[in-house]
C-alpha cells in the first residue's frame, strides 16, 4: 500500500509501486483530468503538479511520490465553483477537443504560482513541452493571460489564488470519494448516466 496525497487528501493505493501515477489517478482515484497521450513523456497531456512543479505523470512511478503533494486540475476548482484558471479557460472558450487542456492548465498553474506576471514569451516557453493538435494555442495563451489577471485582481474572491496546500477542500465531485482502499468503486453504468444526457 502506498499513501498518496492528491489535491489535499490522502489516499491508500493498492496499485503496484511501479505503476505510473497517471493510471492510479485515472483508474484508482477516478480523476479524469490528466490524460494518456503517449506514455512516453513526449506530449504533456498527463501533466500534474508534484510539490508545485509540473510533472509528467505517465513516466512517474508512484513509489517515488510518498509524502509529496500532488495537484491535478480537479484540485483547482470544481464545476460548481471553478478556480480562476478554470474560469479563464471557460471564458476564453480555450478548447477544441479539450484533451490537451488539463496538461496545459497544470503547466500554466505552476508558472503563474511562481511568476504571476509572466510575460507572453515566458508563457510560451513554459508550454513548449505540451502538444495541442487541434491548434487551440492562441486561446490557451489568452486564457493563461486572463487567468493571471483573475488570480491577481482585487475582484478575485478569497482563496481563489491557488497553492497546492489550498487546493484540497474544493472537491465535492463523487469522482474522488474513493476512501481508504483506492480501488475503483462501483458506479452507475455509463449508459444509464448518459440516458438523460447532461448536454
Amino acid at each position: 500500500m502506498i499513501e498518496l496525497k492528491v489535491n489535499g487528501r490522502s489516499y491508500e493505493v493498492s496499485a503496484d509501486p511501479d505503476t505510473p501515477l497517471l493510471y492510479v489517478l485515472r483508474d484508482d482515484l477516478q480523476l479524469n483530468a490528466a490524460k494518456f497521450g503517449c506514455g512516453l513523456g513526449q506530449c504533456g497531456a498527463c501533466t500534474v503538479l508534484v510539490d508545485g512543479a509540473p510533472t509528467l505523470s505517465c513516466v512517474t512511478p508512484i513509489m517515488l511520490l510518498e509524502g509529496r503533494q500532488i495537484t491535478t486540475v480537479e484540485g483547482l476548482g470544481s464545476r460548481e465553483d471553478p478556480g480562476p484558471l478554470q474560469r479563464a479557460f471557460i471564458e476564453e472558450q480555450a478548447a477544441q477537443c479539450g484533451y490537451c487542456i488539463p496538461g496545459m492548465m497544470m503547466r500554466a498553474q505552476a508558472l503563474l504560482q511562481r511568476n504571476p506576471r509572466a510575460t507572453d514569451a515566458e508563457i510560451r516557453a513554459q508550454l513548449e513541452p505540451n502538444l495541442c493538435r487541434c491548434g487551440t494555442h492562441m486561446r490557451i495563451l489568452r486564457a493563461i493571460r486572463r487567468a493571471a489577471t483573475l488570480m491577481a485582481g482585487p475582484a478575485s474572491p478569497p482563496g481563489s489564488a491557488v497553492t497546492p496546500a489550498a487546493a484540497g477542500p474544493q472537491l465535492d465531485t463523487p469522482d474522488t470519494e474513493t476512501g481508504a482502499q483506492g480501488d475503483a468503486r462501483s458506479r452507475p453504468a455509463y449508459s444509464e448516466r448518459r440516458e438523460r444526457p447532461e448536454r
Binding site: 509501486p17 511501479d18 512516453l40 513523456g41 513526449q42 508534484v50 510539490d51 512543479a53 509540473p54 510533472t55 509528467l56 513516466v59 512517474t60 512511478p61 513509489m63 517515488l64 509529496r68 505552476a110 511562481r114 514569451a121 513548449e128 513541452p129
Partner: protein, 420 residues
C-alpha cells in the same frame, strides 16, 4: 632602520610594477585598422562562400554568436565564465553594430591574434587560441561567408566583468603567458588526413575549448590536451587516452557520431554537444572524416579505470531504475530514438556524475520540428535522495566503476542550474 628598508623595497617594487605595467601597455597596444568599405556580394566567388559556410559549420559560429531567439550571427548570447559574463558580438556585416567595415586583414587579425579592428584585445572566450591556426585560404573563405550574411542591427550588450578584468589590455598579459600564435605546423610523423584533422580540430573546430582542462587563468593546459573539460555546466568527456567510454571509439564511430549526432554504441549527443553535431551536418563530410581520424588517433587505446568490486545492495536505486528508466533504456527500440543501454553510456562511466545528473534532470529535447530522441526530465519527479540512489545504482551496475565522490554537491549544483 626597518622602516627605511621597507620603504626602499616598496619603492623598488613600485618601480618594477610601474615598468611592468608600462611594458605591458606598450606590448598590449595595437593599432586600429582603418574601416573598409563593405565588400559587395559579387566580389566573392560562390565556391569560396560555400567553402566558408562549411568552415562556419565546423566552427559552429552560429551557436555562440546568436542570442536565444535572436538573429543568427547577431551576437548577444551571454557566456558564463569563472570571471564573469561575456556577451558574444554581432558578426553580421552590419555597418554600425556588426563587422561590416572590417577588411579581410582586420578579420584575420581577430581570428589569429585576438585583436579587433579598433585594436582592442578580445577575451579568450572567443577561442582565437584555436582559430590562430587558420590558413589564408580558409580565412578568406570565412570572410567571404561572413560578409555575405544578412546584416542585422543589434548592439552587443556590455560584458559583466569585475574590475580589473574589464581592462582589455590585461588580456595582453594573458596572451603573453598562454597564447601561442599559429599557423598550423604539420606533424611529419603522421599522414595527410591526420594532419588535416589536427588542423581542423585544433583550429576552426576548437574542440579543446571544451574538451581540454583549463588552469586558474582560464587557459587550456596544453600538456593535457583533450583530457576533459567543462562547458555550460556539462562535462566534456576526455577524448584522448583518458577516455572513459565503455565502447572504444574509432574513426568510423566518431565520424558517424559527429555527423549524425548519435551512435549505437555511444548514445546521443547532449548538452552543448548537441548543437555542435547539428551544425556539423552542414560541414564538408571529408572534413568531419579527417577530424574523426585525428581524434581517434589521439584516443588510441584508452585504459579504463579499474572496475568496481561487487556493487553494494541498492534496492531503492534498483527499484527506481526498473520503474522509471528500464522501459526505454532496456527496451527494444534502437537508437537514436530508444534509450541507450546504460552500460554503453559514458555518462555512467565518466569521471564525474555531472552529465548523468544533467540528463536525468533535464531530459533530451530536440529542436522544434526536428525528429530526435525525446527523453522527459525527472527534475520534479525525483527528490535529491531518490536521485542519489539512482545515480549510485547506475554507476555500480552499468558503469561498473568505483563510486563517484561529491555526488551530493554535484546534485545541488545541478539543481540550482536547472529550473522546473
Amino acid at each position: 632602520m626597518k622602516t627605511f628598508v621597507t620603504r626602499r623595497v616598496v619603492i623598488r617594487l613600485l618601480w618594477v610594477l610601474g615598468f611592468g605595467v608600462a611594458g605591458l601597455v606598450v606590448y598590449a597596444w595595437r593599432s586600429a585598422l582603418p574601416p573598409a568599405d563593405p565588400p559587395s556580394a559579387d566580389s566573392f566567388n560562390a565556391d569560396t562562400i560555400r567553402r566558408g559556410a562549411q568552415l562556419a559549420a565546423l566552427g559552429d559560429c552560429a551557436s555562440c554568436h546568436t542570442a536565444p531567439d535572436g538573429e543568427t550571427f547577431a551576437g548577444g548570447r551571454p557566456l558564463a565564465t569563472p570571471f564573469g559574463t561575456i556577451y558574444s558580438t554581432n558578426i553580421t556585416p552590419d555597418l554600425t553594430t556588426g563587422i561590416g567595415r572590417w577588411s579581410l586583414a582586420a578579420f584575420e587579425r581577430a581570428m589569429r591574434e585576438g585583436v579587433d579592428r579598433q585594436g582592442a584585445h578580445l577575451y579568450p572566450a572567443f577561442p582565437y587560441d584555436h582559430f590562430t591556426l587558420l590558413d589564408d585560404a580558409d580565412g578568406a573563405a570565412l570572410y567571404a561567408f561572413i560578409m555575405t550574411r544578412q546584416p542585422v542591427h543589434a548592439q552587443t550588450p556590455d560584458n559583466h566583468l569585475p574590475f580589473p578584468l574589464n581592462m582589455r589590455f590585461l588580456v595582453a598579459g594573458w596572451k603573453l603567458l598562454f597564447f601561442h600564435e599559429g599557423p598550423y605546423q604539420p606533424d611529419a610523423t603522421h599522414n595527410l588526413e591526420w594532419n588535416r584533422g589536427a588542423y581542423l580540430a585544433n583550429g576552426i573546430g576548437h574542440c579543446g575549448a571544451c574538451h581540454t582542462p583549463r588552469n586558474s587563468f582560464g587557459a587550456e593546459i596544453r600538456t593535457r590536451q583533450f583530457a576533459g573539460g567543462e562547458a555550460e555546466g556539462w562535462h566534456a568527456y576526455a577524448i584522448n587516452s583518458d577516455s572513459q567510454s565503455h565502447a572504444a571509439w574509432n574513426a568510423e564511430a566518431l565520424h558517424a557520431f559527429l555527423s549524425r549526432g548519435w551512435h549505437e554504441q555511444h548514445g546521443d549527443a547532449h548538452g552543448p554537444m548537441a548543437p555542435v553535431s547539428q551544425s556539423l551536418a552542414a560541414a564538408a563530410d571529408s572534413d568531419v572524416q579527417a577530424i574523426a581520424t585525428y581524434v581517434a588517433a589521439e584516443m588510441g587505446n584508452p585504459k579504463h579505470d579499474k572496475p568496481a568490486a561487487d556493487p553494494p545492495n541498492n534496492d531503492t536505486g534498483a527499484a527506481i531504475y526498473t520503474a522509471a528508466c528500464a522501459n526505454c533504456h532496456d527496451g527494444t527500440r534502437p537508437l537514436p530514438f530508444g534509450g541507450i543501454k546504460l552500460t554503453l553510456s559514458t555518462a555512467a562511466t565518466g569521471e564525474t556524475p555531472t552529465n548523468l545528473i544533467n540528463v536525468i534532470l533535464i531530459g533530451l529535447h530536440p529542436p522544434e520540428g526536428t525528429a530526435g530522441a525525446i527523453m522527459p526530465g525527472f527534475a520534479s519527479t525525483l527528490t535529491d535522495g531518490q536521485l542519489e540512489s539512482l545515480l549510485s545504482y547506475i554507476r555500480a551496475n552499468f558503469g561498473a566503476r568505483p563510486p563517484w565522490t561529491g555526488v551530493e554537491s554535484s546534485v545541488r549544483e545541478a539543481r540550482s542550474r536547472v529550473s522546473d
